[in-house]
């Protein structure tokens, strides 16, 4: 610990030394002057008898072990000169490191953009999010309106609280095509909580959340640019939203971004009386943002909210049982609710392995170089260089290489980030996140370069510090005992590289295979030639069931007229898109408590749904035009429903009652059983599902499906035209083929796979380079031995086989190790990615075969060179 203490006293030590020496000279000069010398000659004499003051001071400082700036610079210059004189080595080392650093930095830029998001506004660390917690449903649930109002009134820890209803959609009409936009309804003080003001115009003011004053609008920067052409005069103009006039009062700047929330505009949140009564407690839809009062900590806020939530629990036990409250810092909440951590963790781990392999390669290269410089190092040591100095010089060289690698890596990172950014467009929320080469990435590159420098040059530097001076000075190029241990170390390094590469390859192949199979799993219906779109019938014009039905009937009739259309259907949700779950009561069964009730997915569909979507009917019949509001209620169930709840008895004729919120529940008769459809295209589960007839229970917001015998996208203009003819102000959203819908649901999976594949390939290439380097060097060291063998009669193929065997042996050991550490991977992945199964023993064999081929190839090239050794030259060359 001495040296640690000494580190901090360094400045003082140097000062003390300077004082001592200065005073020494002054005293001497004064004494000499007292003896009659002039000042001038006294100074000269004193200095002469002292010795070279500067040099002595420098030597004294060096005792403490800290390098002077001059000696560091000398080391750097020397290292650069050495590196320039060995371009092959330098290029290989720098390129290898730069690749490793670049992939790490690119992934880090993703990680830092998502896990260290830029938070908008003033002092964002004081902004928190209040959410509802339920043991069964996690802790980032929104809050109900009554709770919001109560807590806002009772809280003392917040300087302000605002509520947001985030996921609303509305139609913007007038000025171009009707467009469906996402928007959020917010409390008037919402933007004040963050401390941001609109770029143009003003924010909402108090009182605008009352009916009559609430038809004001703030546009997002994106919407302002996209739909309104960045026209500054939009402020004060009226815009038609859901067939009503709204006044535009402001435009937000482009930097107001919250991860995962992408509203295109904001309106004031009006909480009606209906929202505030007891029944409103079941609707949890508000996200609460609050700013901590000065001096209040997160813990204090948490404590208070827990108390408030308990109070709600006691006051309204029916609705609030088991519901608590959680308070999270803004950044924490956003990351948590975004759910991208697992994928990023996997990617980051993978690239760290790639970096390790790269460092191992560079370490091997440095070891080789060190071996070649044994003589030079021995001379330096014998001329008086301390071992510390020698080690320092080697470390400097490693550092220079690493910094060069970092520099090139920075360039490659820039390219990498551009590539990644171009591929992020699969998801709006994700592509809204700025991924760029910012200061954090730059610092990361610096840090990683330093770490690589340490890792790579540690082994060679330590070895060099134990240079056997005598052996080095003797004129021997045959492997000395030092050389043998060095080549053993290199073999160990390459063996580890192979193990790491194998581990990485197995891991990535398992993931790639698993995700690919998931992305392409059979869904239970025909996804081809199916055009879809979504429609939301607004309340103004379609106020009740009869209006909605009228429209839908007319719509289906018109759509059927379009040439190329075979079947038309309307449903509350598209298949395999995670429809809602509702509790089900089965006739004859006792009523179960709330959390044990039977449940099923619920969709409302028109008569032609099964045909249009291509779901086989297994038993009974489908809906007809006669299953309307006046007829007895009927439902269809899927095979899984029968399997789970009827245990293979015939369900036809049995009565069930789906308990949907906000609608009267009636007993319905099961009239048909349909084949299973996956609940969500990106999950393997199949849930029990109930289909209700649209004519009996219409919904205002639904999806259209057109089965066509032509390319689905060619029907889009006709589709739009038909809708416009029926209602010119009704926007049609999400118009795309079913195949596109499924593709979108894959989200980032394809990118994830591509990244993993790239890294695996990179690791394989780096390992191959490592093997090649080792074998090539070994061959060059064994030239003498090979020459003897050839002279003694060994044939070409014998030599070839000898070298090949060396490579294969190393690969075998590395592979065995790699397979061993890769064994727990399938189980690990199974637990991380719920619902998927990653076991694939065949993959292990494939990967091993790949490593084998790569080893053979990497070994073959130098082995072949070895067979051309001229025995005469080899024997002569000492």
């Amino acid at each position: 610990m001495q040296w640690f203490k000494q580190l901090f006293t360094r400045g003082r030590r140097y000062d003390d030394l300077a004082i001592s020496i200065k005073e020494h000279l002054e005293e001497k000069i004064e004494e000499l002057m007292e003896n009659g010398m002039s000042r001038e000659s006294a100074e000269r004499t004193a200095r002469r008898e002292f010795g070279n003051v500067t040099l002595i001071e420098e030597h004294s400082r060096e005792i403490w072990g800290w390098p002077t700036l001059g000696s560091i610079w000398a080391d750097v210059k020397f290292a650069l000169r050495q590196l320039i004189h060995a371009p092959g080595f330098t290029a290989t080392a720098v390129l290898t490191l730069s690749l490793g650093i670049a992939v790490n930095a690119t992934m880090f830029s993703l990680v830092s953009a998502f896990l260290l998001p830029h938070l908008p506004g003033r002092n964002p660390q004081n902004v928190v999010v209040v959410s509802s917690v339920n043991p069964n449903q996690g802790d980032t649930n929104p809050v109900s309106a009554p709770n919001y109002l109560t807590w806002r009134a009772d809280t003392r820890v917040f300087a302000g609280m605002a509520a947001v209803d985030e996921y609303r959609t509305a139609s913007l009409t007038g000025q171009g095509q009707p467009e469906s936009v996402n928007y959020a309804a917010v409390s008037p003080n919402y933007f004040n909580i963050f401390g941001v003001s609109p770029q143009l115009g003003r924010s909402f003011i108090a009182g605008e959340d009352q009916p009559g004053r609430d038809h004001v609008l703030i546009l997002s920067h994106g919407l302002w640019e996209g739909r309104f052409g960045s026209d500054a005069s939009i402020i004060g103009r009226k815009v038609r939203v859901d067939r009503e006039d709204y006044l535009v009062v402001g435009v937000m700047g482009a930097d107001f971004q919250l991860l995962g929330f992408t509203p295109q505009m904001w309106t004031p949140l009006v909480l009606s009386a209906a929202d505030q009564i007891v029944a409103g407690r079941k609707q949890r839809f508000l996200y609460l943002f609050a700013r901590l009062a000065p001096g209040v900590t997160l813990q204090q806020a948490r404590a208070e909210l827990t108390i408030l939530a308990k109070r709600s629990q006691m006051d309204f036990p029916a609705n609030e049982r088991r519901w608590g409250a959680a308070v999270r810092a803004l950044g924490d909440f956003l990351i948590h609710s975004f759910g991208i951590r697992t994928a990023l963790a996997v990617l980051m781990t993978t690239v760290s392995f790639v970096l390790l392999i790269a460092c191992a390669n560079v370490a091997g290269l440095l070891l080789t170089r060190a071996a070649g410089r044994q003589k030079e190092l021995a001379i330096r040591v014998s001329l008086g260089a301390s071992r510390m100095r020698v080690v320092r010089q080697l470390l400097t060289e490693g550092l220079v290489i690493a910094l060069l690698g970092g520099g090139v890596g920075l360039l490659l990172t820039y390219i990498g980030i551009s590539l990644v950014r171009a591929n992020l467009s699969f998801n709006e929320a994700i592509s809204a996140v700025p991924v760029s080469l910012d200061i954090k990435v730059f610092l990361f590159v610096l840090g990683v370069s330093l770490v690589s420098a340490t890792l790579s040059s540690l082994a060679p530097a330590l070895k060099a510090s134990h240079t056997d001076t005598n052996a080095g000075l003797k004129n021997e190029s045959r492997t000395t005992s030092g050389g043998r241990s060095q080549s053993r170390l290199r073999a160990v390094l390459v063996g580890c590289e192979i193990a790491l590469a194998l581990f990485l390859l197995i891991g990535t192949s398992l993931l790639i295979r698993g995700i690919f199979l998931l992305d392409h799993q059979p869904l239970g219906f025909r996804t081809d030639h199916l055009l879809t779109g979504s429609v939301a019938l607004d309340h103004t014009r379609y106020s009740d069931a009869s209006h909605q039905l009228l429209f839908v009937r007319g719509l289906i009739r018109s759509l059927q007229q379009i040439p190329g259309v075979e079947d038309v259907a309307v449903a509350s949700d598209l298949p395999a898109t995670n429809p809602n779950t509702v509790p089900i009561q089965i006739e004859g069964e006792p009523k179960l408590p709330a959390n044990e009730q039977r449940s099923a997915l619920d969709a409302v569909v028109t008569a032609d749904y099964l045909n249009a979507v291509g779901i086989p009917l297994l038993r009974g019949r489908t809906f007809t035009q006669r299953d309307d509001a006046n007829a007895p209620r009927v439902v269809l169930v899927n095979d899984e429903f029968v399997r789970r709840y009827f245990e293979r008895q015939d369900p036809l004729g049995k009565q069930i009652r789906p308990d949907k919120e906000g609608a009267a529940s009636t007993w319905s008769e099961i009239v048909g059983v349909v084949s299973n459809v996956k609940s969500y295209s990106e999950e393997t589960r199949v849930d029990p599902e109930v289909y209700e007839s649209f004519l009996q229970r219409p919904v205002a917001s639904f999806s259209l499906m057109l089965r066509s015998n032509v390319e689905p996208h060619s029907l889009i203009p006709a589709l739009r035209h038909t809708i416009a003819k029926l209602d010119a102000e009704l926007p049609l959203a999400n118009v795309m083929s079913m195949d596109t819908v499924i593709k979108r649901q894959r989200n980032g999976n394809p990118l994830f796979i591509r990244l993993l594949g790239t890294f695996a390939l990179l690791a394989l290439i780096l390992a191959a380079i490592g093997i090649y380097g080792l074998i090539a060097y070994s061959v060059s060291q064994r030239t003498h031995e090979i020459g003897i063998r050839i002279a003694l009669g060994a044939g070409r193929s014998d030599i070839l086989w000898m070298i090949l065997r060396q490579g294969l042996r190393m690969a075998a050991i590395g592979s065995a190790l790699g397979v061993a550490i890769a064994l727990p991977l399938p189980k690990l992945f199974d637990s991380i990615f719920q619902g998927l199964h990653f076991g694939a023993p065949g993959l292990y064999v494939v990967v091993l075969a790949a490593i084998l081929m790569v080893t053979i190839f990497a070994t073959y090239v130098p082995a072949r060179r070895a067979t051309y050794v001229d025995p005469n030259a080899a024997l002569r060359d000492q």
Partner: protein, 114 residues
């Protein structure tokens, strides 16, 4: 380092030995130490005054010495060097090792020509 070709180089460790012993007698500052050694050795040892300082720093680093603020003979502030307990032990060790070496050499030289 010898200035006068008639005087030998000191063996390594000799300087440290003498510094430790001198400072044990009395803690001194740099110039006083240099004068003391020159005086007491009657000029038989020619040491470059400056060479004291690296040695002093080395012993400071090892912990054999410690330095404290004090005044020079002229009343100006400078550093005074004194022995630590570790330094005393070090001195005793060096002295005994030197005496062994000396007696060894003496014995070899005492063998008269046959």
């Amino acid at each position: 380092m010898a200035k006068n070709p008639e005087h030998r180089d000191l063996f390594s460790g000799a300087l440290e030995l003498m510094i430790l012993h001198s400072l044990r007698l009395k803690p001194m500052h740099g110039y006083a130490l240099a004068k003391h050694i020159k005086l007491v050795s009657d000029d038989l040892l020619q040491i470059e005054e400056g060479s004291l300082y690296p040695a002093l720093q080395r012993m400071l680093k090892e912990g054999s010495l410690e330095s404290e603020p004090g005044l020079s003979a002229k009343g100006r502030p400078t550093r005074i060097y004194r022995l630590t307990d570790a330094g005393i032990r070090r001195l005793e060790y060096e002295v005994s090792s030197f005496e062994k070496m000396l007696s060894g050499i003496t014995r070899v030289l005492a063998v008269a020509e046959a």
